[in-house]
Every structure is written in C-alpha cells, then in structure tokens.
Amino acid sequence: MRPAHGAAPNGVVEVGISEHAQSALGDLVFVEVPEAGRALKAGDACAVVESVKAASDVYSPVSGKIIVGNAALATQPELVNQDPYGAGWLFRVQTDLPLDAASLMSAADYEKYLADEAK
C-alpha cells in the first residue's frame, strides 16, 4: 500500500501485492478487482489474484471506500508480476480518516518479517 500520487493528504491510498507475493504466486492469469463504491473494513477480502496454480484473496489493509479498481488488469494481469508497486496496483481506497498507520507494517519491517519466516 502506498499513498496515491505521492503523499496521501486526502487519505487516498493505492493497494497492490508485494514483490514477494507476486513472485510466490508465479505468472498471474486473472485478477479480480473490487467495484467502485464498495465500502470495506480493514481485513476484508476484496480482490483475487489467480495464477495457473493458485488463487488468493487480497485483503484491504485499511477501512474505507473503493474509488476505483485497476481496469488495465482485466486484459493485462501480468502487470502485477512486472510492476507490483507501480502499474500493477489493484485498487484505490478513500480511507476513513484518520488513517491508523500503527496497525500497518512498514516495507522495512516486512522485509525483516520475511527474512525471519525464512529462517
């Protein structure tokens, strides 16, 4: 997750899956993104990424309302593999302010978490 268009003063964030997740899933063949306007709570399953061998739910890390799903993924699911932190974003959420960042993991913490998992 990252603020859409740089900072997130308006509380809009862009959600995708991590480099680690796209690598573990392998080549994606289908991505299902949520409908605009859907209200969701942090932890709700709202997207599905499907490779030839597995399909996984993607959970929203924040509460709020879906602004838009990434329509490009309907024809180009491989964008998630190629550029998970850029063109392969899944959906944008208008978060309920104030954003509770304390419950989220930083990129550095996530790297550390993965490294610990691998031990």
């Binding site: 409908e35 499907e50 490779s51 061998k53 597995a54 399909a55 739910d57």
Partner: protein, 463 residues
Amino acid sequence: MAFIPHTPDDVARMLQLIGVQSIDDLFDEIPGELRAGVLGVPPAMSEMELGRLMAERAASDGRPLNFIGAGAYEHHIPAPVWAIATRGEFYSAYTPYQAEASQGTLQLIYEYQSMICALTGMEVSNASLYDGASALAEACLMAVRANRAANSRRILLPRALNPIYAQVARSIAGNQDIVFETVDFDRASGCTLLESLQPYSGQDVTALVIQQPNFFGNLEEVDRVTDWAHQNKILLIAVVNPTALALLKAPGQWGSGAAGIVLGADIVCGEGQPLGVPLASGGPYFGFMATRMQYVRQMPGRIVGRTVDTEGRPGFSLTLQAREQHIRRSKATSNICTNQGLMVTAATIYMSLLGPQGLARVAEASLRRTADLVTTLSRIAGVRPAFTAPRFHEAVLLLDRPVAPVLAALARRGIFGGLDLSDRYPELGHALLVCATETKLAADIDLYAGALADVMKSTRVAA
C-alpha cells in the same frame, strides 16, 4: 475367501478405541423415525434365493402407466445409449484422479459441454453437477459472487418454480446469508407476471430465478422478464428443461434485444435426467450449468478444455481449476464433490444419437401428447384445465373433489395419474399436475380417460 475385510475382533477393537459400544451407537445422531428400520429381508440368503426374492419384490411394482412429471420425465431411451455407456471404457461415475491420462473421458465431457452450450445458447458449461435442484442452489451462490453491482444477497424465487428446487436452494444457500423472497404467480395464466416483479424495480436485488417451462408446465414470458432483470442490474438465472430447449428459444437469446439491454440469461441450469437417464426412484440424475464467459471464474465444478501439447497435438485437460477445492480448500468456489460422470456419459450418447432433429421430435411429440391428454381429460365432468397460458408437456387440472382419493383409485387400476398439488399449493384447490411424454400413446391416454371417468363416478364430491 472372506469378502469382508474386518473380522469381529477388528470391529470390537475399533469400537473400543473410539469409545462406543456398538456400530449402532455411531448412528445415534439420526432420529429413530428417520431410520430405515427392519428391511424385511432375512439376514443371509444364498445368491439364488436372493435373486428369486428380489425378482418377486420387483414384480410387485407392476408396470404402471405413469402420468407424473414434476421434474423427472419418462422418455424413451434408445437401446444403444446404455449399451455404449456401460462399456468398460466408460463405466465409471468418476473423473479419474489423474484426469489428463484419460483423454477419452475428457473428450466425452468436452463434447457434453459443447452440446449443453448449443442447447442453452451459452458460452461455457461445466462438467455437470449433482442434480437439477442442487444446480440451482449452486447457481444462487454463483450469482452472489458474480453480481458485483448488488450487495443485498437477495434472490427472487417464483412460486411457480419447482417447490423442491426452492426448498433445496433454501437449504443449501440459506445458511450463507442469502435471503430468498417469493414472487407469486398469476392465478389465471399460471405464470409469473411482470407486474409482480415491479415492486422490486430499482431495488438492490442479486438475482431472479425463472423456470421455463415453469413447475405447472406453463411457458413464462421470459423475454420481458429477462429485460426487466437486466434493466434493474439483476442477474437472471434460468432453470430449463433440456428437452424443451429443442423447441423453445435458447436462454442465451432471452430478451428483446433492445439497444442498451443485455441479451440472454446470465446463468442457466437444470435437470439432465430427461436426456437418457431412467427415472429409477429419483436418482442418480445429473444437473447441468452454463454461463457467460465473463462469469466462468465464478462457476462451480470442473471444466474440460481443448488444448495442444508441447508438440502441437490436440488434447484435452481440466482447466480453470485454480478456484476448485483441491487448490483453494475451504475457500473454493464450490464444495461440490460429486460429479455424475456416468449419467453425463449416457446423456452425451443420447444427444449424439438423437441429434437436434431427434430431440425436437421428442419435444414435439411430448407437447402434442400433453395437449391431447388435457383435451381428453377435460371432457370428463368435474375436470378442467387450471390455467390459460401456453404449455409444454405438463399441465395443471382442477378437479371438483379432493385429488388424493382419485389418485389412489387410479393407482389400483395401474395408473399413476399425476401429482397432487394440494399440499404445496393449497391456494389452487383440488389441483392435479399431469404429464404425457412421447412414451404415452393415444391408447394410453384413452385408458387414463376411461379410468378417470369411472373413478369420478364412484368417488364422492367434497362437501
């Protein structure tokens, strides 16, 4: 040689290990009144004695002349259907575990799917489901996944839908926060009118189910109903009789085709039994399901696809499996475990042998025989048709007295005269659902009419 692998000692040790006294204790959860109890057969017989006993029991069924339809239909099954289906190469109910090693089985399923798509006018079919009623329940669950414009999980079920299907859908899907609401039918026509759907216009509704022909045998105005559903962002689930599809407009073409309105049903399902599967006391049958390609990932069950191998040779494989239970476990699209491979094999052979023209002849003959039956029976005093709508091969008759004693008297004469609707549709009065397929000849209809006329003279009219 012992054919039973467990000795009494084995059984005693297993029971002791899990802490119960007897095998009967394992069934304590099932209420006593639901158990079969004593079957009326001796504990052990020789093969010869057993064969004789079973032949006697079978003979006591007689060979009744059957005019009951109500979801399961007696059609002529050409002899080659089961001669071929029971060949060693086909004779299994299961898709093999290593599916791609059985290219013949996969090709047969692929042909089956192609035929279902041709009959329904839809883009993709699965490899079959358990039966028609559970196929509808799965279609309801699928609609909730597929209709992302709706959040209500509300599904409209016509009262003119087969009530057993409605009951099964409520049993299977009702525990998953899906709300079923009933839409009444018009007493004169026996159809689901657009006016009874209007109160739901503009509301958040996930899906509307429509059965064609409906439970009463009447033809619904599917074009208008489909347009209405799509104008209100409601998915249309069609429950159809596969024989009738040889004559009627394919669900994939339902709707007016007016600009801006999506054409066709969204999910089509139904009972496959009429396609070469014997009545056999209610099963095994099979359900079919087809949909638009855009919803293929929401469709339950297995799908066989045609592909090429690494050397470019054509072959068949299971496809779109990533959401099935062997991969997604508890989050799978469906918990359907049983497919009805053998019934599907028979149905595929049946459809291949008849072809589109043959199936249309079966449908035309059934329609004509039912029309004759209704005309003939309605000449009897105290018998009249209940509804005015056009019909396929089933009709509701109204009697001037309770139906049950009439049916009992007919049964004593070797005639199953139809299904008494008075329990499930008390609002119709003394209503009797009758069906005649191509298996009923003019002489059979006359026999029924003669017997009914006699019975109506001798049974009492209700006060």
